[in-house]
């Protein structure tokens, strides 16, 4: 694999993200904080979807878990160390995902999607209806927390978000991405991809189908909860909308927009949608329509998402003779559930 150009691009992207608080008004850094939350959550989500072939339509439940976890730990219990909140959110993700995953990984395809959607809706109605515990539709407050034990008392909320917390989240995302990169390129990741492609064959090669799917489910839940804790801190609120099925759909949207068949696709999708949604909301109140139209266009014309488009453009520019030819299938391994137009049951 040709790594060099992409390494340069990634370093450049990280440097650019690092410069946002310095060069741009605080508004933009503040805007990007949720992006980091989503990026972390989607890295986990795509382990399940892109690498494991399981499309969860209830994944927002874990983001909600992280946000509500932050509200409980920092707000109710008064432990205002963000690191402890992160650990607590991760633990909550683990504890919830283990039994839940044990139940749901026995199903694949549309049944897996429906079951996760059902659990998501169940969580939503619990959060929504038990207002004496969860604040109902007004949600729970997530107070301001200390980062690495530092109060940052001189900063107001916006300055905290656009400064220290911004860098904190950037660092978290880099760590999360590094760990996920190791996971998908490990022997475990290989087995996960093999059972996505052909579970029967994988079984006979000794791949522990249910255990591996469960592991992927749990890891994705932990990532989701950590992302949710960031979202909760940023908005200062954990509310049931976080868990609603349309929010789960939003997560899938970001992943597909960026391209689930590439490692960085979900991060690209999270960034693109965060910026896009902000722009659209300032232009028109009908931004959902535009987003829906974009999603439809991506699904129809760009099944490999923005990352796939970038890869095609990149290989077109770097090919010695720049001539339009038939779209070439990439020769080396792709983590995607689907190549272009490939059905999952397209197993010879």
């Amino acid at each position: 694999m040709r790594r060099a150009p992409s390494v340069i691009l990634i370093v450049a992207a990280v440097v650019a993200l690092g410069l946002v608080p310095v060069l741009a008004p605080p508004f933009y850094a503040n805007l990007l904080v949720p992006f980091y939350g989503y990026a972390i959550a989607l890295l986990g989500f795509n382990l399940l979807f892109g690498y494991g072939g399981l499309l969860s339509f209830g994944h927002a439940m874990f983001l909600g878990l992280g946000a509500y976890g932050a509200a409980v730990i920092a707000g109710v219990w008064g432990i205002k160390e963000f690191e402890i909140v992160l650990i607590g959110a991760a633990l909550a993700g683990l504890v919830v995902a283990l039994p839940l995953g044990w139940l749901v990984v026995r199903y694949t395809g549309i049944f897996f999607g429906m079951l996760t959607l059902a659990f998501g809706m169940l969580t939503h109605s619990v959060l929504f209806k038990f207002y004496h515990l969860t604040g109902g539709d007004s949600g729970m407050r997530v107070p301001r927390m200390r980062l690495l034990g530092l109060e940052f008392a001189a900063y107001n909320k916006i300055e905290l978000m656009a400064g220290p917390f911004y860098y904190y989240c950037l660092a978290l995302m880099l760590i999360a991405a590094f760990l996920m990169w190791r996971i998908v390129h490990s022997p475990f990741g290989l087995h996960l991809r093999s059972l996505r492609d052909n579970a029967q064959k994988a079984l006979y090669l000794g791949v522990r189908v249910h255990q591996f799917r469960l592991a992927a489910f749990v890891i994705s839940a932990i990532y989701g909860a950590i992302g949710g804790a960031i979202l909760g801190f940023r908005t200062g609120l954990a509310d049931p909308e976080l868990v609603y099925w349309t929010h789960s759909g939003h997560l899938v949207f970001m992943t597909v927009l960026g391209g689930f068949s590439s490692f960085l696709g979900p991060i690209i999708g999270a960034l693109a949608l965060t910026l896009l949604q902000d722009q659209l909301q300032s232009y028109t109140q009908y931004w959902r329509f535009v987003l829906g139209a974009i999603l439809a266009l991506v699904v129809i014309f760009l099944p490999r998402g923005l990352a796939g488009l970038a890869a095609d453009v990149g290989s077109f520019l770097s090919s010695p003779r720049r001539r339009p030819g038939p779209v070439q299938l990439p020769e080396h391994s792709q983590p995607g559930v689907l190549g272009p137009g490939l059905r999952r049951d397209d197993v010879a």
Partner: protein, 253 residues
């Protein structure tokens, strides 16, 4: 010597339908045993019982002295049994190296290494290269499986099964979809690879009587869920009644 694989009085019933009835067979180390029979004789059911996928209605299945009824493919893969399928089974989006690598990971017990880079593991890549070499796939290591030719897909399917370093391998019609001219070549590659990989016993499910006659030490014929014959090739092909049942009237044997 205890047989590697043994079934004792195994039956499999689906309601009133008796797919298999009171089957007792044994395969010993060093043997090449073929299972033949007309369609619907119960060959596939027997294979699924031998590979621990199905639980017998009655009787027991032993592998290396242990009852393996229904333990499932994963447990058997780690204990030393591998199988291939009649319809070629590949991972469309994994490369050749990754496909073989998946089996090597199982064999080396590294599947729970969540954070160690696969590419940096030399024990795995050495074994992958070795297996690929045996099957002549060493030039295709970085190719996506779905881009291989049909013949290469078949080889890869079998190669990944061999990568488990099994003691017994069950080949379910390995030459189906291969032209008559190439059948012997493919079989030679498989048998040679089995020797090179140190496989103790081969069980072949096959329709092609030429192949069965050329390679088997023993032939087990199934008919309507029962063992019709369990004989060495000479005795087997000397009995026209058996041949008639197994091959039908299609060919003028």
């Amino acid at each position: 010597m205890t047989p590697l694989i043994e079934t004792r009085g195994v039956s499999k019933h689906y309601g009133a339908f008796r797919a298999l009835d009171d089957i007792s067979i044994a395969v010993r180390a060093g043997e090449f045993v073929s299972i033949v029979g007309p369609n619907g004789a119960g060959k596939t059911t027997l294979v699924n019982l031998l590979t621990g996928l199905l639980v017998p209605t009655n009787g027991e299945v032993y592998f290396k002295g242990e009852n393996i009824a229904g333990v499932g493919p994963v447990a058997l893969a780690t204990r030393g049994m591998a199988r291939t399928f009649q319809l070629v089974q590949i991972f469309p989006q994994l490369t050749v190296a990754e496909t073989i690598g998946a089996a090597v990971v199982t064999h080396q017990g590294k599947q729970w290494r969540l954070l160690s880079p696969l590419l940096a593991d030399e024990a795995i890549s050495a074994r992958v290269a070795e297996i690929a070499g045996i099957f002549g796939l060493e030039q295709r290591l970085a190719t996506l499986s779905r881009l291989l030719s049909q013949g290469e897909k078949k080889l890869l399917d079998v190669a990944s099964a061999f990568a488990l370093q099994p003691q017994v391998i069950l080949l379910d019609e390995p030459t189906s979809g291969v032209s008559t001219a190439e059948k012997h070549t493919v079989m030679k590659t498989l048998v040679g690879a089995a020797r090179a990989a140190g496989v103790d016993a081969i069980i072949l499910v096959e329709h092609d009587m030429d192949l069965v006659a050329s390679y088997s030490h023993r032939i087990i014929a199934l008919s309507e869920g029962k063992v019709l014959a369990d004989l060495p090739p000479d005795a087997f092909f000397a009995d026209p009644a058996i041949i008639e049942t197994v091959v039908g009237k299609r060919r003028g044997h």
